[in-house]
Assembly symmetry: D2
Homo-oligomer: 139 residues x 4
């Protein structure tokens, strides 16, 4: 589901992140407190075993959490990641990863968000990573 | 400082990570329990303000921790990241980032490692991120 | 819900933790992959504002995650916490805290578990903390 | 080393934490950006093997980080823990634990601090835990 009003606020910031554009990451779901990002496999994003590199998984997961957090901010305010923890649950072996970010708590100064990352391998969906992040509201 | 014996074991794994090669990351220091990686700025690695993207900072920091952990493994054993926490301390604004990984504790099954990331802006060196990781020894 | 078979395995370990007994923590739910612990307020467990101390919240949350992880272990195997991240979401102001631990992924050597902590203030239930832990299976 | 001026600001807050008083934790070092806390073993603070309970280790480590962070705040401002990650490095087997907190970065709104915890077993000093925390400055 895509909330078109929110999209006009969130997408420009996302698109202005050249690294996300370079990876080819896409917003596939967007509503208040929830953002999902999708990224197709490319050998350039791989680690030694040919799976998605943990750094790519972490980058997508962090962005999904950040975008989800941004949807809870008032007009003109944004979010910056202060810190995150990433647990790698399974090898990210597949042709696509989807990072589903959701807000746990949105406070005046801090937002806590979590992202589940799933890898799709010939249709099979595997929960490959979990990220827990703390973001700071900025003007 | 580069330990040439260790380099023959660590560098091939590092070079087999296509994402690290794509970024152009380089090993600039390598000894038992300590590995430093360097990455030059490129617009493709940037976030919305034109600084290094947090995902790139995290990927380099995680790899430095992983390589440092690998130097403490016996021949034929390697390390996989189980989880890490990344604190972003300052905007990664500059022309180069250097991730200095070091092992805190190397056990039989788990290795704990930490990485300081510094960004260089016209010679000025800023501590921009700190990563604390748990890695698993694998055959 | 209490699984009586699991209880015979999990409760003795829990009861042998003198700190948990000293706090007066109780198992209020126990099934495969899920354990809830409850702790009543006492001034001795408070911080400067009279709320539950973060250290007490963290201890209960960690134990709930550990007990949940233990329920997924084969007979004769247990779990030790390797690391955890705790996010404090709201002041733990109330007369009781309940830590609901659940297993995210149970592997051969590592178990990932998460715990939500709720504080009850005159019946009102507030989500006050979230813990994400990595545990190691031990014989 | 104890900075007596800082002590007049930090100690009252520490002493007002009834849980710290109940444990019998003591400030043994205090200067700008650095605070060390000490806690003697008592069976009440133990886990199933008779070592210091991880929850007690985490509580002391968190408080050391918080006190260190508080020393960097202007008069009338304090710090609250937003989140922390604790890595347990070795069994906390011994008669005393000492948590050495230090500030990594003190910003206007956030403070990043780290704590090393050492356990003393018949004079032998073992690095048993490492905590990395994010704190929020509050008035």
């Amino acid at each position: 589901m895509i909330d078109e009003n929110l999209k006009t606020r969130i997408e420009p910031v996302f698109k202005s992140q050249k690294f996300m554009q370079h990876l080819g990451a896409e917003i596939i779901a967007l509503e208040t407190g929830k953002v999902s990002l999708s990224l197709n496999y490319d050998e350039r994003w791989s680690q030694q075993n040919g799976y998605f590199h943990g750094g790519v998984v972490g980058a997508l997961a962090d962005n999904a959490a950040g975008a989800a957090a941004a949807t809870t901010m008032p007009e003109g305010k944004g979010c910056l990641t202060a810190e995150y923890k990433l647990n790698l649950l399974a090898p990210a072996k597949g042709d696509k990863i989807v990072a589903e970010g959701r807000v746990i708590k949105s406070g005046r100064n801090l937002v806590i968000a979590e992202t589940d990352v799933f890898v799709f391998d010939q249709g099979k969906r595997v929960h490959c990573a979990l990220l827990l992040a703390t973001l700071v509201a900025v003007s």
